[in-house]
């Protein structure tokens, strides 16, 4: 379909702007004024609406269908949350408004902090980080500040990360100025304790761990892992990407974690928005509270205020107090569940185990245990016997009307298919997905071309990712735009993680 720029005709427009009468035209020094106007599209409003509506028909969301993208927790995004976030008292509230005229916002944020402290089993919360990755980085900054304050900053230079970790963990370690130490997974899918013990010493600042892990497995030795780190004076960081498995069932603070980030766009229903926004609050144990970002939302008698007077704080990690609209939605979501939040996690785990039970005889299960809220299958056998890869299975699922699972992640499982159904799906949806997966396994030997050529009914077929990376055409160039269709193509999709 056309780009919006290709719908443009000089002289067309949508917006009419207010122009107060009789005001002189502003004078801009010539050397600072615009020399050449930006080539924004010139289109009437209806054309804009049709353009973006056509784009939506070429996109798939949770509202469209089942979206079991592992580690992303693609659950229903309640529409009531959209209604409340649009209340003028929230939407049009300026972040520099006086605190006494923003009391409702501060009360809401304090309320959400209290909820998250209760759910994580920790003492203090900062809502400021913009997303999970920034929560991770903020948590590592807290570790740096904490150890520097104790005079151990120069000694503790390393962070341990499991080989099953999200790519964000090692990336955050580097950005925080730490060195990475990788630890292996044992045959049951837990952290390999012997490997861990052999690597941990007093140069460690701490551990980053997702529990349940990206394999969807709860680490059975979590108490021992916590003991190992606390004995050497290290800190434990909990990557909350998988918190949807354990709300009301087991709390990170009770597991021994000192710092936790929470993905509000996963567990607490902030819509993923095609890639964002998210929210990545962090919860910490009392001794880390002084280092949290400023400002903190604190009670002040009957009211609340923003506290900037925190001399040990790491500072600010983004503007203002965080993505407030995300807080409104998550707060509304938690109000809906209340003390029954445990049912959310129970059903998420039940749904995952049900799908697992239906699929594990047909696809390989590398770690044969009950799972938590997600599980990882391998298409290794299909690849060996029929040349069918995880990518082929993923593409064929689109023909059946489903979004594929996360594939090629975690990295330790070959041909990985990481499936997370979430609690909001009905048994009928799970059954139809299971039947599609089983049918695809039947098709692999019988009609492999059906899988290799999938998807069959999308606006585009498989795309040439190699050409995209090599040519790096990352913006429209108008009259100078290259004609990529005229260049040779070698459709190949990299076997790289797609999801997470």
């Amino acid at each position: 379909m056309k780009l919006i720029f290709e719908r443009s005709r000089a002289g067309r427009r949508a917006a009419r702007l207010p122009r107060p009468k009789d005001l002189p035209a502003p004078e801009i020094p010539a050397e600072l004024g615009r020399s050449k106007p930006p080539r924004l599209p010139e289109v009437p409003e209806l054309e804009i609406v049709r353009h973006f509506t056509e784009l939506t028909t070429r996109n798939f969301g949770i509202d469209t269908g089942f979206y079991p993208l592992g580690s992303c927790t693609m659950k229903y995004n309640p529409r009531v949350n959209e209604r409340v976030v649009a209340l003028p008292g929230f939407r049009d509230l300026h972040p520099h408004q006086d605190e006494e005229a923003a009391h409702g916002a501060l009360a809401l944020m304090h309320g959400l902090q209290e909820m998250l402290a209760e759910i994580t089993g920790l003492d203090a919360v900062s809502l400021q980080p913009a997303a999970g990755s920034q929560g991770e980085l903020t948590g590592l900054m807290l570790m740096r500040a904490y150890f520097a304050d104790r005079g151990e900053g120069d000694r503790r230079r390393k962070i341990v990360v499991a080989d099953t970790a999200h790519g964000t963990n090692p990336a955050s370690v580097t950005m925080a100025g730490y060195e990475l130490v990788k630890v292996d997974t044992d045959p049951r899918g837990n952290i390999d304790l012997d490997d861990l013990r052999s690597k941990v010493d007093e140069k460690m600042a701490g551990l980053m761990l997702t529990n349940p892990s990206t394999l969807g497995l709860f680490d059975e030795h979590i108490e021992e892992i916590a003991r190992i780190f606390h004995e050497i004076g290290g800190l434990l960081y909990y990557d909350g990407a998988n918190l949807n498995a354990v709300c009301g069932i087991s709390r990170p603070g009770d597991m021994g974690f000192d710092i936790v980030h929470i993905n509000l766009h996963k567990t607490f229903s902030q819509p993923h928005g095609g890639g964002g926004p998210g929210g990545g609050p962090i919860a910490v144990r009392r001794q880390l509270e002084p280092y949290l970002p400023v400002p903190a939302v604190v009670p002040d008698g009957e009211r609340f205020r923003l506290d900037y007077d925190r001399p040990k704080s790491i500072g600010k990690v983004r503007a203002f107090t965080g993505p407030f609209g995300v807080f409104v939605r998550s707060y509304a979501f938690i109000l809906a569940w209340g003390r029954e939040l445990r049912t959310m996690s129970e059903d998420a785990v039940l749904n995952a185990n049900y799908l697992l039970a239906r699929l594990k005889d047909t696809y390989e299960l590398p770690f044969d245990r009950l799972c938590m809220h997600e599980f990882v299958l391998s298409a290794r056998r299909l690849k060996r016997e029929h040349g069918i890869t995880a990518l082929d299975v993923a593409k064929r699922l689109m023909d059946y009307g489903f979004h594929p699972p996360t594939i090629y992640f975690p990295l330790i499982v070959p041909e990985a298919l990481m499936i997370e159904p979430t609690e909001t799906e009905t048994k009928e949806t799970l059954d139809s997905f299971a039947e599609a997966m089983l049918a695809i396994a039947q098709e692999a030997p019988a009609r492999p071309e059906l899988l290799k050529e999938a998807p069959h009914n999308r606006p585009v077929q498989r795309l040439d990712e190699v050409k995209a990376a090599k040519r790096a055409v990352v913006r429209y160039r108008f009259d100078d735009h290259p004609d990529l269709a005229a260049e040779p193509s070698t459709p190949a999709a990299a076997e790289a993680p797609k999801g997470v």
Partner: protein
């Protein structure tokens, strides 16, 4: 409100298929010592109408723009968001999708992001934009990280006229990135190119803001030239709403252009979520942080879009990635794209002119001394109110007007200075009201 999708009968059947007798048994791998043995203290579950009522009560304790006439800006602006933004962003295919990992199911978001990248490049005069950063502060930290790797230098130079929150965020990131941060003080509200040049010797980059935090127009081409002379990357932090009337950073020698996108397409929303943008010259493409959408073709030669240059990113490069960013601000960036399409080149220029014209009118009408009388300003200006600005704000608010941002919060010796922001939403009558309350 209930978000439960299973019945008890479903649960029983499912447990039977799994081969366990109870839901509790599904959690048998969790050691007894770390199980939570009480109900969460989160209150009774609420119905949808109870949730709405509770949230309406909280919203009513806030005073949004609309309930008072507000001249607050200082980085977040009350520009008009067109109705089509809400209509399009609320469509579930955009709202409830995630990062477009599977391009055949995601051409809608991918193409929209390709268009967003193009619009950002057009505004800034650059060759490459990512698919959005968190906000206008974190993209500054990203720019420093790029500059450090490109130049091998650790020093970054920040103009004091840069939004204080941007400076604070860079300073928070600095220890982890191994950066040394140097500030260049302002002279009469703007940055002196010679001073900047001296500070930029041996630096990775220089970041300045146009228009700056005081609303003043910096001698931006001279600042970029000063950075370039010293061998540092020139980074301009720009307001998208200004770029219909002000020169594109790419046209005056900047390596990178960054900024807060909020004013184009996002409500103020108590500070977020908004989107940050980061754009660069072509040579820095492979050092960019975060998602980038690229054009390609499918097996049949059909044009399509994919996430590209992913070997920069955390899910592939892990500890060697150019950034840890994963979830970004796509939906807010799409709000920006739609707004900029709605404005078009003509509308964006008119919007900039209107903001500037009403600001000039407000300066005159108020008649109080300007803090920086020598400078040209865009939509914001600093005035001396002759007594503590906080006091003036308190009194004005009693009369239904929020007169602006107290600069004394961030700058010494400016306790009597108010930063007044004008957008196209403020009328001549609003300005008359402001002048009246400021006159006492």
């Amino acid at each position: 409100m209930t978000y439960v999708s299973l019945t008890d009968a479903d649960r029983e059947q499912m447990l039977e298929t799994i081969g366990v007798s109870s839901v509790d048994e599904l959690f048998r791998d969790i050691p007894a010592g770390v199980r939570f043995d009480r109900a969460l203290d989160l209150g009774d579950p609420l119905s949808e109408q109870e949730i709405v009522k509770r949230l309406e009560e909280l919203a009513a304790q806030n005073t949004p723009a609309g309930e008072e006439i507000s001249f607050l800006g200082a980085g977040v602006y009350d520009h008009y968001v067109p109705a089509i933004v809400d209509a399009i962003l609320q469509r579930g295919e955009f709202l409830t999708a995630y990062t477009p990992y599977q391009p055949e199911l995601s051409q809608g978001v991918l193409q929209a992001l390709f268009e967003y990248q193009t619009v950002i490049c057009e505004l800034t005069g650059m060759d490459v934009s990512n698919a959005s950063g968190y906000d206008g502060t974190t993209v500054a930290a990203d720019a420093c990280y790029i500059a450090k790797h490109v130049t091998g230098q650790a020093k970054v130079v920040l103009a004091e006229t840069l939004n204080p929150q941007v400076r604070q965020v860079v300073k928070t990131y600095a220890p982890g990135f191994g950066l040394e941060v140097v500030d260049v003080p302002h002279r009469d509200g703007v940055t002196d190119p010679d001073e900047l040049r001296a500070a930029a010797e041996g630096a990775a980059c220089v970041i300045f803001q146009q228009p700056n935090f005081f609303g003043c127009l910096e001698p931006a081409p001279d600042l970029a030239a000063a950075a370039n002379d010293a061998g540092a990357l020139a980074v301009a932090h720009v307001d998208p709403i200004s770029l219909g009337v002000l020169e594109a950073p790419g046209a005056y020698g900047c390596a990178l252009a960054i900024g807060e996108g909020q004013g184009a397409g996002n409500p103020v929303s108590f500070g977020g979520p908004h989107y940050g943008f980061i754009a660069a010259r072509e040579e820095f493409t492979r050092r960019m942080p975060g998602r980038i959408v690229g054009e390609t073709t499918d097996v049949a030669g059909e044009r399509g879009y994919v996430l590209t240059l992913q070997t920069r990113e955390q899910h592939i490069r892990r500890e060697k990635a150019t950034s840890n960013i994963t979830t970004n601000q796509t939906l807010l960036a799409l709000g920006g794209l739609i707004t900029l399409c709605w404005l078009g080149p003509q509308g964006l220029r008119e919007l900039g002119e209107t903001c500037m014209a009403v600001a000039e009118h407000a300066k005159e009408r108020i008649g109080l001394p300007l803090a920086f009388p020598e400078q040209t300003t865009f939509k914001e200006f600093a005035i001396r109110v002759g007594r503590p600005a906080q006091e003036v704000i308190r009194e004005a608010r009693k009369r239904g007007i929020h007169p602006g941002y107290p600069l004394g919060r961030d700058f010494e010796g400016m306790d009597d200075v108010l930063l007044v922001a004008l957008t196209e939403r403020r009328t001549i009558d609003d300005i008359a009201g402001l002048a009246e309350v400021l006159a006492g």
